[in-house]
Symmetry: C2
Subunit: 217 residues, 2 copies
DNA sequence: CATTGGAAACTTGTATACAAGATGTCGTGA
DNA sequence: TCACGACATCTTGTATACAAGTTTCCAATG
């Protein structure tokens, strides 16, 4: 027996880390037996997953884990680029010592994470924290949550993209450069740096070739 | 008998135009009788309204139309400022004749709307179309929808703020200036113009003094 | 053998009875 | 008069039976 909140978080997590692959069927009856709960509260969970694009609901047919929508990925990258450029420039003048320490500690943890077990899982979480901290320090946690809310496609895209370890090192290095920019007030470098950091090599064909069956047609 | 979609749109509309005032109770049984539908599909509608912050659900107590959250208003204004500055600058170089015509036609309609019946209602709709068109022309309709999705508080705030007719004239004038900036490639003026256009005089006390009972504590 | 009909077994959608908590009322007692 | 407590009546939350559409599979028929 699980609560609705637990079920929601569990399913979200399993979809985001691709344990539940795009196209997987999420039947109400199967889920209600798995979680020992009736269909009514379960439908609440599925409704929420549907609104956040984790699943697609086909009436009288079934619920499928959504395929990765590259249009959504592109748009979220653009949104984050524009926002984080502005936020980082804004922070350059006003970053507190406490804020700097928080970011440095996070980058230290990222460095340690890269060469340990579950590197990808752990690193992605810390990367998330790094960027969220930027939003929070700038007083825009609200917008971070809004981005998170429509993040299913980007998050899964990103995970597939970062499968190679050398990518993690590059990303960590860019985090250091971003922090340096802020502490040294080098606002002129920010635009190009953030643009490249978020966009990565989105145009590479690696993902399309190896995970075509995860991608929305 | 109404469909879920109709009910959802109707309730959204009534909340946005303040026919349903903040704090109004939306009881499931009352609504199910009004729309001649059972509680189950109605709860689907309320769930969606809840996720989009149109209502607040207090378990076993009731559902209230949400109060206007000024923090959300501030954040949406910031988000739109940053995005529209970038979008407008980007369009300055690449606006098509068709795009220019579409925007001009819209502004013509805005001018006519100001002095007719239901000026506010009509003008707000056209204003919405103007800004949506900017997003669409720039290839970012996705982000317009994302903003719309978390727009309840901003939309109601705005309506209260624009109750005076002279405001409409000022806004229309600024729309013309924005269009001129784009056609004349005067990108240096964009930042200040957009900033002022979206922010308006949000700091005025008019709203707080006259509609305090609509505002979230 | 291929094709078509149709029933059976699925799917989600809806109505409804009941559970359980919150609230307000009214009466009793001090 | 005031305080308190039981109860009646609200509210939303949950379980479940049934409705209605979709798919699958198998057998009958050409």
């Amino acid at each position: 027996m699980s609560t609705k909140k637990e079920i929601l978080n569990l399913l979200k997590h399993e979809i985001l880390n691709l344990t539940l692959k795009p196209g997987t069927i999420l039947s109400e009856t199967v889920l209600s037996e798995r979680f020992q709960i009736s269909r009514t509260p379960l439908r609440d969970v599925l409704k929420q997953l549907s609104i956040e694009s984790y699943i697609d609901v086909y009436p009288k047919k079934g619920n499928l884990v959504s395929y990765i929508d590259l249009e959504s990925v592109e748009q979220i990258i653009y949104l984050r680029s524009v926002l984080e450029k502005d936020i980082i420039k804004g922070l350059s003048g006003s970053l507190t010592l406490k804020g700097i320490m928080e970011l440095k500690k996070n980058l230290e943890e990222q460095k340690n994470a890269i060469y340990q077990e579950h590197a990808l899982e752990h690193f992605l979480m810390l990367d998330d924290t790094f960027h969220r901290t930027l939003f929070t320090l700038a007083g825009h946690e609200f917008l971070w949550k809004l981005i998170k809310f429509s993040n299913v496609h980007y998050e899964r895209y990103r995970r597939l993209h970062m499968l190679k370890q050398e990518k993690l090192e590059k990303v960590l290095n860019e985090h250091h450069m971003i922090l340096d920019c802020m502490t040294n007030h080098e606002t002129d470098k920010v635009d190009e740096l953030v643009q490249h950091h978020l966009r990565e090599d989105i145009n590479s064909l690696y993902l399309l070739e190896n995970f075509a069956d995860y991608i929305k047609a």
